[in-house]
Symmetry: C2
Subunit: 244 residues, 2 copies
């Protein structure tokens, strides 16, 4: 049984991420949520609040990946331009939708639903809404693109209403062996041998290095858990040998 | 006196960032370090350990931005392919360099300098080295591309040897006004008015939202500190009005 690899692209939208003022956490949340569904993130881009760049990136990623996730830019202020960019990317119209207004009404009185907040109900034609149990303003799905909030707690709240829309592929499992106090360079040659011995397994070597601690995480990834178990044993033996 | 806008692209390399196992912090470090030098990050991409994608991204960013920074993939193991990808991106040769070996010798005895560690001295032709005071293996500059380590403490250590190579442009300053307990939607219309009243100023609205706290950061960015001072006053008045 061979399952195909299913991939996702992630587009993180917002000047504040590029200025360094905010550090993104959404990519890691999305990647870890996708992993057990059998979807691997193939690339992520952090783009400015720029119409053309957002639209072009959405279009390119929609062609290149099975699924695309965007985060950010769907609030009520003038710098929230993602919905319009998604519509432009696919040549779709965009307008205020009754079902989205209903969702906003769970949160806002009619008096609070000013023009700015109504903008959060502007949805590209044909998109299906994604529920937002945290702050109500919905995300939406346009073709294979899921458009989510940027605030991490709100973004996380939208994921449950996406799960049933995802058709995953082969699950990729990973095993990590941590080696404290050894140098990556001493493990390099045997690592290649181990990787070569097990088809379909890739091994990454991730050093850490700070005032207190120096070492390496060896991460083996593959689709067959039985094989990975064996690889983990080899890695443990390698580390034990280097520590002698 | 009008100074031009100088931009940078950042390429974060590594499967571990896309799997969500590691959260990047280098983008924010680089962006904040560039800001006072008068360089703004225009886009960042997080790419897999894939030769073609890395080379193409480097080539595209080198054309599009004044400076490019790559992080990750310059260690001694088989998954460290960045140097080769940079060489391929520009059609350059690559070979072990004596000056890079000298740097490694500060850390390693000849007996420790095995084939894997010597790989860290493979540098694209014509590149100039970037000192690494933390773990000695150098980064390097190829045209307008700076190739740095992925481990945050090592990456940070390389920045001082880059500063003198950067010709920055107009500095962008920012002022932040935090409003706790107000809704973004109530500020949306006046925000647009304030932004329109001050040419060259852009205002971002960044909500935060968690169990304890709800509110918005309004961030005004621009090149003229005197103007920004005035904008900050307007934003404070707006927030005070909304809190009444």
């Amino acid at each position: 049984m061979t399952q195909k690899t299913v991939t996702a692209g992630v587009i993180l939208i917002g000047d504040e991420l590029l200025s360094g003022r905010t550090r993104d956490t959404n990519l890691s949340t999305i990647a870890r949520w996708l992993e057990p569904l059998g979807v691997q993130v193939g690339e992520a881009r952090i783009v400015a609040d720029d119409d053309d760049v957002i639209s072009e990136t959405v279009r390119a990623f929609s062609d290149r990946f099975d699924y695309v996730f965007t985060t950010g830019g769907i609030g009520p202020t003038h710098d929230d331009i993602t919905a319009d960019c998604i519509a432009a990317a696919f040549g779709l119209g965009i307008s205020e939708r009754g079902d989205a207004i209903e969702m906003l009404r769970e949160r806002y009185d009619l008096s609070e639903l000013n023009a700015a907040r109504r903008r959060m109900a502007r949805i590209p034609d044909g998109a299906s809404l994604i529920k937002n149990p945290v702050s109500q303003a919905p995300g939406f799905q346009t073709k294979n693109v899921f458009t989510l909030a940027g605030v991490p707690s709100i973004m996380r709240g939208m994921l449950p209403d996406i799960e049933h829309r995802i058709k995953g592929g082969a699950k990729v499992y990973s095993r990590t062996v941590t080696a404290k106090g050894i140098g990556e360079g001493d493990a390099a040659a045997p690592l290649v041998e181990i990787e070569k011995a097990y088809e379909g397994v890739s091994i990454g070597s991730y050093p850490f290095f700070n005032a207190e601690l120096r070492g390496v995480n060896f991460v083996a990834r593959g689709r067959d858990e039985v094989v990975l178990e064996e690889v983990e044993g080899r890695l443990r033996a390698l580390v034990a040998g280097l520590m002698e």
